[in-house]
Symmetry: C2
Subunit: 300 residues, 2 copies
């Protein structure tokens, strides 16, 4: 059973696809009374009002913090870090400070920013990562069902208030998401492997081919497999610049392990090692097929 708590005010910092979809989903479930957005771009905030995604907005960060019961930092990763640096000093020592959470793809860099800014991990800062997205961005693309059956990873750390962690979990469960806990560093390593490295490889492949002399022919003759393989290279460059910087350490580790395996496979090709190649491809196919079967049993 969900322990739905009625919250007065949820403040969304950064009303884009994720923040807007969260507000829509929570509003539908009646999870809070009031949805307030804070941001710099008044146009997006006005649009949020028009679309009925939020009830109010403010351009004043102090007001946003003062009124919030839950403050959701729904900005890109690096801006989330800047926001924490601004917010944490303002709530330090306040008895009625909001529960603060975020949606960024990298968690360790925000934990470090929080500890560096605050001295210790703030009890009411609970980091989380909804694994959901869309090719579209902005509040116009927001969708109340964006998180349904998607995973949301909550990464509680030592020093977190258990009631704050419980509230963030409840909030995400209300959107229809599957909420799971994970260690911060494990989260960053797993995401580096399953998401950040594939993006780096796809960007690298497309850029390599685009810079080739034969690039026109190359793209002319590429077929469906190539289209699937490179789809993620159409992702937002700013978001991936930020993730690459924020998750540097885990990403470099996973690139290095990948490179070792690629070097071994290159060596097998150079040596004409038919047995070794067949072994590697067969092992990979088995892993991919079992992953595919596993995905088949869940919706998203």
């Amino acid at each position: 059973m969900l322990n739905i708590q009625r919250v007065e005010n949820i403040v969304i910092l950064g009303l884009g696809l994720i923040g807007g979809s969260l507000a829509r989903a929570l509003r539908t479930k009646g999870f809070a009374k009031n949805f307030i957005a804070y941001g710099h771009r008044e146009q997006s905030l006005e649009r949020g009002l028009e679309l009925g995604v939020i009830d109010e907005y403010t351009l004043d960060l102090d007001e946003a913090i003062d009124r919030a019961d839950i403050l959701v930092i729904a900005t890109p990763t690096l801006i989330a870090s800047d926001m924490l640096k601004k917010i944490l000093p303002r709530v330090k020592g306040c008895s009625h400070s909001p529960v603060i959470t975020d949606v960024a793809s990298v968690k360790g860099s925000l934990r470090d920013t929080a500890i560096n800014t605050n001295g210790t991990m703030p009890g009411k800062l609970v980091l989380a990562h909804p694994i959901a997205g869309s090719e579209n961005s902005g509040v116009d693309a927001s969708d109340e069902s964006l998180f349904v059956d998607h995973r949301v990873i909550v990464t509680p750390v030592e020093g977190n208030d258990s009631s704050a962690v419980a509230l963030v979990r409840d909030m995400w469960r209300s959107t229809g998401a599957q909420v799971l806990d994970m260690d911060v560093d494990e989260h960053d390593a797993v995401l580096a492997a399953t998401s950040h490295l594939p993006h780096i490889l796809a960007y690298t492949l497309v850029d390599t081919l685009a810079q080739s002399n034969a690039s026109e022919d190359i793209f002319r003759f590429a077929a469906g497999g190539f289209r699937d393989f490179t789809r993620i290279a159409s992702s937002d460059p700013v978001m991936w610049r930020d993730i690459s910087i924020a998750n540097k350490s885990a990403l470099l580790d996973t690139i290095d392990v990948f490179n070792e395996h690629l070097a071994a496979l290159r060596q097998a090709i150079a040596a004409g090692d038919a047995t070794g190649l067949l072994e590697t491809f067969t092992r990979a196919k088995a892993a991919r097929d079992s992953f595919s079967a596993m995905l088949g049993t869940r919706t998203k």
Copy 2:
């Protein structure tokens, strides 16, 4: 206008997905009177008869060659090379020998086998590569519309009879495919870049993650982008072993160029070079988006 020639007998060597689909498509168009399959596995050949894909089959290679007007080697790449070594000596110097063609993904290795076996390129051996496939294999998966709007690359070489080249082009046009000519080495370089390298990267990534200590978590938290990116790692390991061996030289070249670009991007991540990362990702996104727009204007 197509110059459809009425052919008496087409012999398919290897009645799988590609050979079976070709026979079905050509039969529908009345391109030949008789479709005969040759192979080792009588069960597949019997199944081809049952399904009405072929009219007859034989287990005797000499009979297959004697009766063929067009002989289509529709086996995997390395077996196609073995077949050429058997067939070419039997037709050398014969005035009524068939036009011989193939469907393999690598062309240079077959050209080299042909020249090494025959002394010079046989005039009536015309190499070709239909860029089409399916996740399913075998004659049961064969489909008369498999090649419709797909590319077929014909790679004529010096020494080819122009009438033989024209017949192979006509045969493929009859299936509804878009037929294009390309130089053999250019074909192998372009396919290495757009198809063989992506397969190597996908196999390497999945195998790297599967061998990690955290592999269970990794696959548990992988999402849609990962599924698309790794789909080609579910491809047939034997086919990709053969391609990796047959296209070794072009594949090693393209792996090396890719590695240089990946090393540069790794360096940018390590240095926290926000500008360099954004430039690379933006350039790659632009190339992928324009590729995507280009693909949008054609069906397959």
